[in-house]
């Protein structure tokens, strides 16, 4: 019961978090000031997600092979590799380093 209660609570909270903006704003458009901030939300969240994924709480999860794999993927992309290929090269690099 405890487990199901927690699962349903998190599920409902997740739905509510996603719905809050549209429910509150409806068809009202954001003012220009807010639109300029919102326009930068994607790159800011992306950068934050990368750091959180790589570093983890207290920077305890930092893993050299993972960081190298991500950097290699970025390098491959900068050298015009398609996105999926660049990611696979990065993953293969990390897997290779861990085999050594």
């Amino acid at each position: 019961m405890r487990l199901w209660g927690a699962i349903i609570a998190v599920t409902l909270a997740n739905w509510l978090l996603k719905a809050t903006g549209p429910l509150v704003l409806g068809d009202r458009r954001l003012p220009p000031l807010a639109r300029r901030v919102v326009a930068l939300m994607a790159p800011v969240l992306l950068a934050g997600l990368i750091v959180v994924e790589l570093a983890g709480p207290d920077w305890d999860h930092l893993d050299g092979a993972q960081v190298l794999g991500v950097a290699v993927a970025g390098g491959a992309f900068a050298l015009r590799a398609p996105m999926l290929v660049a990611v696979l090269i990065g993953a293969a690099t990390a897997a290779g380093v861990r085999l050594l």
């Binding site: 998190v10 704003l25 954001l30 326009a39």
Partner: protein, 230 residues
């Protein structure tokens, strides 16, 4: 562009994250089985909750403390969806309830691949990207519950690289022609990196959105629309 074309484009762009989602789903299923969650609860959670970070958070915190604390931690991790929902709203159509329903398609990778630049989002692309990830997450959970593979296997295969690498490529694509976005991204990285030392990842991510405040001053000319990601 028709809904079907946009949906297919979103699904195609999300193949990389979907592969990582599948692997994470397998990990979640295996961990839930090992944690004594049974079969129905993790399957229900993956199908209806569909949030890797919140699901893993609940899995690791529920047995150690109170239900309220565990639910609060999972809620905090997903608090960024409220900000993302506000950002998405201008790209939605219809009444409040219909908009709220469409916003349920929000997940990190989809939010990014659907971003057309300038705070505008392609909804068919977002839904397509989410659909393929949802399917991989649910099937991955099922496979994990049934096969219960070794916890270290995904890491050995380099699967842990896929999400951060994909996010890095998307951010490179975002900032390539937009200096202000590049500065905002660096600020977001610095804020989240600094706060990870003193607080939970959920707070660090939420606070990273403050980096977008550099968008407050008006620019002399509009930023060009982002090119389609490859």
């Amino acid at each position: 562009m028709s809904f079907r074309t946009g949906f297919a484009e979103g699904a195609r762009l999300a193949v990389g994250p979907a592969a990582a989602t599948f692997a994470l789903g397998v990990s979640f299923g295996a961990a839930a089985a090992a944690g004594g969650w049974g079969f129905a609860a993790p399957m229900f959670f993956s199908a209806f909750g569909f949030s890797g970070s919140a699901q893993f958070s609940l899995l690791t915190t529920l047995h150690a403390g109170s239900v309220v604390a565990a639910v609060a931690a999972a809620f905090l991790i997903n608090a960024r969806y409220m900000v993302m929902g506000i950002a998405l709203n201008d790209s939605l159509k219809g009444g409040r309830l219909w908009r709220a329903l469409q916003a349920q398609a929000l997940v990190d990778a989809s939010f990014m691949v659907a971003h057309k630049g300038g705070g505008r989002f392609d909804m068919p692309r977002l839904v397509g990207a989410t659909a393929v990830q949802w399917l991989c997450w649910v099937v991955g959970t099922l496979v994990g519950l049934l096969l219960q593979p070794e916890p270290g296997l995904m890491k050995q295969l380099g699967v842990d690289v896929i999400f951060p690498a994909f996010f890095l490529l998307l951010v490179l694509d975002e900032v390539r022609h937009n200096r202000r976005a590049a500065v905002a991204a660096l600020l977001g990285a610095a804020i989240s990196g600094g706060l990870l030392l003193v607080t939970e990842p959920g707070y660090a991510l939420l606070a990273a959105t403050a980096g977008a405040l550099i968008g407050l001053p008006a620019q002399r000319e509009a930023e060009p629309e982002k090119e389609a990601v490859r």
